[in-house]
Every structure is written in structure tokens, then in C-alpha cells.
Symmetry: C2
Subunit: 547 residues, 2 copies
Amino acid sequence: MPELNPPETAWNRAFEAVADSLLPDLQRWHRTPQQIVSFTQATESSFFGVKLSPASHAISDLPSLPWGKGADFILDFGVHMVGRLSFQLSGVGRHMDAPCRLRLTFGESPLDVTMGMDGVDTWISTAWLPDEILNIDELPQTVSLPRRHAFRFLRVQVIDTSPEYKVAFSDVFCECISAIGQDHTLDAVDFGNPLLQDIDHVGISTLRDCMQTVFEDGPRRDRRLWSGDLRLQALANYSTLREFNLVKRCIFQFAAVVRTDGSLPACVFEKPQFAPSKDYIIDYDELFSAIVDDYVAASGDLETGHTLWPTVLHCVKRGLSSLNPTTHVFELERTQAFKFIDWAKDLDKTAASHGLLLYCLKKVNHLATRLGQDAPYTDMVDKMTAAASTFLQNGVFISGPNSQISYASAAWLVLAEAFPPTIAREALLATIRHPAAVKPLTPYLWHYVCDALMTVGCYEECLDLIKSYWGGMVQAGADTFWECYDADDAKASPYGDARNNSFCHAWSCTPSYFLRGKLFDGLKGRVTGKITMGELDHRWVKRSALS
Amino acid sequence: MPELNPPETAWNRAFEAVADSLLPDLQRWHRTPQQIVSFTQATESSFFGVKLSPASHAISDLPSLPWGKGADFILDFGVHMVGRLSFQLSGVGRHMDAPCRLRLTFGESPLDVTMGMDGVDTWISTAWLPDEILNIDELPQTVSLPRRHAFRFLRVQVIDTSPEYKVAFSDVFCECISAIGQDHTLDAVDFGNPLLQDIDHVGISTLRDCMQTVFEDGPRRDRRLWSGDLRLQALANYSTLREFNLVKRCIFQFAAVVRTDGSLPACVFEKPQFAPSKDYIIDYDELFSAIVDDYVAASGDLETGHTLWPTVLHCVKRGLSSLNPTTHVFELERTQAFKFIDWAKDLDKTAASHGLLLYCLKKVNHLATRLGQDAPYTDMVDKMTAAASTFLQNGVFISGPNSQISYASAAWLVLAEAFPPTIAREALLATIRHPAAVKPLTPYLWHYVCDALMTVGCYEECLDLIKSYWGGMVQAGADTFWECYDADDAKASPYGDARNNSFCHAWSCTPSYFLRGKLFDGLKGRVTGKITMGELDHRWVKRSALS
């Protein structure tokens, strides 16, 4: 949400230079389609209402299959990818006496390749829709699309050739792109549970596909760096791929575009040149403290902690100015700044904002201690902790004039450790049990709910949530985790139409952070050695080819 | 029309090498849009039912105009062009936070840029339709379309940007392409009549835009060399641009792909490599004799005449085998080969085919004499001339079992000079007066009607026909002459939908051949000197900017 009169950017070109020096060498590899498939109406229960079946032709027959006007088929690459499509297109028949017009639709989900892309009713740009119209004058030709796409399925529609010729496709491949190459290794973990194994895998794939020259929020949409998403990606990364330099690059990018009042934008652009977005989110600003503290803890890079200390110290200032100076309670109306917390409808964000700020002040203090400095906010932490009692009523957390009960309030007040653990746990569980509690809409907030559960020792509840929420996506066929997931509605979308949803979205990648982290000891899992991303992908492709 | 079992190609690689050596250096120049225009419902009589008006913005304002979702405007370049579009696209607003999707429609006629390109019902390939969808990820960017287009109008539709930004267009230009550059000179002629002046100009523009690496039939569709079209282009060329080498190249291309029975294909392809089309048209085959005879006469290049003599001798063989061996009358059913003559519906082609073959035999004889050889077909010419009397009944030419009267029959029997001039003239004029006579559908046949009128000394009738037919297109707003023209129906099409018509079509370029040739002395015109194509274009653009 852009601000009306944002402060000027106080460019820190030294930080920008650090970020530039950490530009990753993008890794590239080829992936070819595994099957020609079709989606038919599902007879059994199926999240998307469709069943994936191999088409009547084997993929090895593709080069010999001629397709004419009206032809429509789907190639399944077996795994979600980010990259550029290439194929050899040949004429079959007498002569190419007219151009060939193709429509290619890059499918992250079955919806993309079964619903078509006409009549999409969405309030964000329809230019995000993943279809391309190609007009080709000469055959044979190697067709290499200049744009990067994110997809597993490729729907090919031959709009027209001519009565004289058809076209054949061969050498179809995607040049996959990520900061993480196929030979990148990580711990191979046996969770002793197929669903958890899959959840871990899908989370890692999600993370990998979002790791480009920055941590993108989603490689299909918006393809750029948001600080709130970065925090979750970085946490998942520390537990899996452990690519610290990309995190450091992104942290310095935000620090480079600090504004004159010390606040940080919610998002930065890399193109056409590095620049801050006008988007500002007060909770994302505050969370910069957590991002740096997490990074220093995970990497041991104290130098970066020292360098960024002034930036961290200031990123909570806007939050602090939103506190009532007498009661030290966060008050929404004290700032015009957008508070995100979650996309849940009609969510009252007062209690969550209070909890989130308190959580971040503790992160600042924690970092200060780690850096051998005095914690600057001990007094304020005490005041806000005391003030938090206003949000606890009858054993449950409430927020706003209507005493709204929500997962958001509960998660952030628990994470802020504003109450003794027993009280916090009971209030959190009471919220979850409460029939009127406002639930999270995004995996982003579901992550913080999981984290809150872990904070108060609710391991089983956290594991059950991961199994039902992220496991639900896996059982619905996810190769990567989604921007939003409503178990009751495959076509749910915050944007009016699910065809504009992102089905590989960074802020849903965190199950591995829990499974390989705080949950690990309680699970019957074990590290079995090392595995490369290429091997992980290969297993997934092989399995999907059998499904 | 492809043949079922065409003879093999008897490649003459020496002829192909001659053709290759004559590949023209394509000339290139830039042309910029002159106006932002809109088409409104015409209040006065208008062929297309629309009126071209300048839009509320001057073209000089274009770089500063921001266009967002749903924007739709038309740029008028003032003259028909063949070339590649380029423009600079910039973002206007906060930040480009989503791709930009544009639809560009290249308009030869107002129909193209006012009707839209959806729901076109045509039996030829819809891949010919002149629209492109572009998805652009980064701004600012120079957008250079790789495909060649033929157009005067460019309709720009902004399908979407995002609420955060709009786009601006600057440095819009077309890199125009033709074998004929802007500094190519020709005779400047003052016809003392504005309509004739325009007709001459539009014909020359048509010819120039079709002159690429070969004489294309139409630079929008089919973009390739057909022998029937070549004949008319070559004739117009001799009277205007006089680029003999391009004619020679095309003649050798056909001769290079002679078939084992001596026949020639109707069309050749240059891409992906030089090759004959499978299309065969018996009348086009025969007309190769006229093409070579015309060329030798116009250029004085006797050497080419000698080299191609065997090819010319054979190109009439299939026609000859279609004659009844006793009566020497052409019989349609003796060959499966497609006879074109014209696209007029239900046309009986017997008489026209007889006349056309006789005309071509005389061309062979004429070439033989010019080359100092014995005329091979004097005896057959006599026999066919005598046989032609079967087509004359009650002072009018008839054809087929239903004694059909048509312009086609009359034109070709007159051109064949099968009857004494007075009889031929009266029969031709009687045909034209006859209410049931089947009229030509294409400018191609209208050309031969004009030529027939000149053959029998009907100068005024020929001039009137040029003024009404080709002048009708000029008055309807043509910058180049069209593939087909029905004065009563702007949406008439041989292909089901006028949006798949070609509005710059070689076979309609011949008025200059008459105006600067056989009609010239009778007109009050005079050659005033030399003029370049660039000057001619400039005059036209300047005038269209005022209209």
C-alpha cells in the first residue's frame, strides 16, 4: 500500500554496493516434459475437481505428432520450474503457406491449463496471466521465449496453421533458473512419514524457485523482494539450503533504501534499476529487526550485525510512535501507515500490532546483547508487556472496539511472550477452539500461528496444523506451496480470480523450518546424509510421472 | 490448388543460381506516425462507413500521454508501409509493479483497426490476422517487433498495466522495407486529372510495397511469388519503377523448379529454403510464356530469352493437352489441373481457357521470332483461332453447356485476337452491356478486361473502367490497391471475412501500366521530369495529414 507522502529515500550507497557485490550467479539447467497429459473431470474427491491422466500419446511420440488448427494439449514437466521455454517447431504437410499462431499457457496449477485465460475478473493486473500468443512466420524454427515463466504444465493451443500444414514440437525444454543449482546439497532427512516427507520437499522446492537474484515473493507474481516474505524465506533457508549470502544481499538492499525518518520500505525493485517501492507496511518495517537478528544468529556474521545496527535501531521507530504515550498500547489511528498482519477480512489489527512491535523490540534488544551493546528497549518492553494485559479478557485475547478474537492477535501476543507461558498457551488454545475466531487467510499468518504454538510448547498442535494446512496442499497436488489456500474452495482468491493467484509463494515455504528445527527432536526423523537438489527433483519427477 | 499427384521437380540449379545472384539489397528507411486519429461513424456517404478524424491529442504530445488499462488509440502513419515497428515504451506513475500487456493491430484498412480481430470467420488461416499480443516485463524498453507487417494504421490497445503505473509511447517508427528505396527515381507525370494522378500513385505504392526479395502477391498475405501476379507486377514495373533484375530473378526462380513434364508451379517459396509450392494453376503455367516475352521486350535482354526458351516452349504443353484433338477446342474435363481465371462464382472457364491458351501460344511464337527462331505454334494458332468461333453466338461470347456470358470469356477471346477487331469489339461491348454477364471478382481479371478493351481500341471505355473501379478504391481511401473490391460491399471477401483480405495486393497494381502506356497519348498528361519514391511518398503523407 503506497503512502500518500512518503519520506524521501536516504540512499546508503555503501550498503547498495554490498548488496551488488552479492549478486548470485544464477544457475541454469534443462528440464524436459515427462508426459503428455489431460485433465478429466474427477470421479473421486479432488481439490481442483480434475484428475490428471496420461494422454493417449507417449511423450516420446511428441516429435512425430502433427497438430493443426484447434489442437490443444498439455505437457507435464513433472515438477514446478522457473525458467525459459524453448522448443523446435516444424511444419508437417505440404508447405507452410501461412503463419502459425500458438497460445501457450504456463500452468502452476490445473486451473491455469484447464480454465482458459479469458474473462478473468481480478482487481490486480491481468498482465500477470501466464499466457502468450506467438505468431511464427517461418518453419522449422527454434522458438525460445524471452520471458521467464513459472510452471509445471504447459498448455499448447494451436490457434491456426493452415489447411496445407500442421506443426510438430520437438526438443521441448525449460531452461530452469535459480540461485540454487542442481548440485547444491542439503541434509537428506527421513521423517519416517510420507506426508511430512512431501511437505518438507514441497517447501524446499518453493524456496528454491523463489531464490533468484533476490528472494522473490513468487516467481510468477510479483517476482520481487518484500521484507515480510524475506523473513520467512530466510528462516526456511537457514534450515535447508543455507545460502546466507542471498539473505545478506537482500538485507543490505533494504538498508540501502532507508528513508529520512529511519523507516524501511516494504519492497524493493531491481529493475530497471535498484529502487525502493513506494509500498510501506509498518509491521514489515519493524520485522527488519527480526530479519537481521535471525541472520546474525544463523550465520554468525556479527560484522553485518554491527554494520546494520543503526538501521535496526530505527526500523521500530514508526511502531513506537504508534503507542499511546500514557498506556503504551498500540493504537491503529496514530499512524496512517498500512498494517498488514494478514489478508483476513475485517481483521482488527490492534492486538497483533502490539504483539508484533513488542516481539520486534525484543529482537532489537537480543541483537544488541549479541553485539555486546546495551539493549535499548528494556524499559519499553516492560511497559508494553504490562500494557498487553488489556488484550487478555476471560482467558482469550481480544482486539479492537468489538473485542474481536482472532488467530492474528493470539499468535503475535504469544510470540511477544507478553504473558506467562501457561496463560499464553491457554489463551492461544482457547482462541483456536473459539468458533468465532477470525482465522488466517494467508500461509504467512499460519506460519506465525505455528511459531506461536511452538513458543508455548504445543508441538502436537503445531504438527497437526502443518499436516492439515500444508499437507492439504500436498494432497491437492501441490509441487510448491501456494500464496493462499482454502481447503473448501479451490478457486478462492484474494484477487477475485484464482487464475491470478501465485502457486509458488515464498511466504508459505516454512514447514521445513519447523520440521527440521523445533519439531525435529519430537519426530522420528533422522538425517541420513547429504542430497543434491537435482536428486530431490529427480525423485519428485519420477513419482509424479507414476501418478 | 495443390495437385493430387504432381510431377516431380526437375531442379535446374543453374537457373536457381542465376535467381540467387539477383537477390536485391533490400532498402530501409524510417517512417513515423503523423497523427493520432479516431474513426467515427460517417455521417456522409463513406465506403467503410467511418470517418477518419484527428484525435484530441496532437502527435507531438504522444510521448507525454500516459495510457492505462483499457486505453485504445490509433496512430496514422499517413501512407501504407511494409516494415518493422519499433517504439520506446516507458512507465509513468509510481513503479512498474506488474507486466504490461498490449495488443497491437496493424491496419491496412479502417476495418482492421475498428472491427477488432475476435470472431473472424474465414476459411483461410486466422494466423494471417494482423494483431500481436505483447507482454513486457521491464520498462523503459525499446520494443522492436521481429515480424514484418504491412499497414498504415496502428491500433494500440493497452490490455493492462496496473493501478500503479501507465505507459507512454515515444520514438514510434516503422523501419520500412522494399527492394525499391526512397531515392529510386521514376518519371514524374502530370495527368491533368487529380483522380488519375491518385490512381497512378496508389498503383505505384502497391507495386513498391509488394517488391521485396521477390514480387510478393501481397506483403500482408500471402507474402510470396505467384506467377499470375508476377505478370501484372512486371508489366506495371516496366511502366514505372523499371527494376528489371527483380523480374529476371523471379522468372529464373520459376524456371528453376520446372517439373519433369515441363510444367511450372503456380508459386514458389523462399523460406525456409527455395522450393516450389505444390500449387499448380494451368493458366498461370501458360502465362509464363507471356511473362518471358514481356520481359525480353521491355528489357532487351535477349540472352535470358534464349536461356529460357526451352522452358517457355514447354509451359504451354499442359494447356495443349487439354484441347480436343479433333476440334482444337479447350475442354475443361481433359485435365484435373486447376484453372483460375478469376474467383467469380460459378464462372464457366472454357472459353476463357481457350482464349488464354491461344494468347499464350502467340506469345511463344512472338518470342521465337524475336529470338530468330521458327515460331513453333503457327499451325496450332490457326486451328485454335478457327475453333474459337464456337464461342461466338449472336454477337456475344458464350462458354460452357449453359452458354454462360462472362467478362472472363470476352476478355481472353479478345486478347487472343481470335476474331476480326470489329467483331471482337462488338462482342466485348455486348458482353459488358449484358445484364446477366458474370462480372470479374478480382482486379486481376479486371486488368485483362482493360487490356482487352485497349486491344480493340476502346480507350474511353478502358479509362472509364479504371476511373470507376480503381478510382472507386481511391475514393474509398485506398493508399494501395486491394485484393478485391466490391463497390457495394466494403466487407466483401473471397475468404469469408474482409479482415483476412489483403489491402495491398499486387494483381491490382496495373492502372499505371495503362495510364503511362497505351492510354498515355490520349490523355492530356505529360512527363514533367523525374521524381523519387521518397518525394512521392512525402506528397501522399502530407495530403493524408490534411484529410
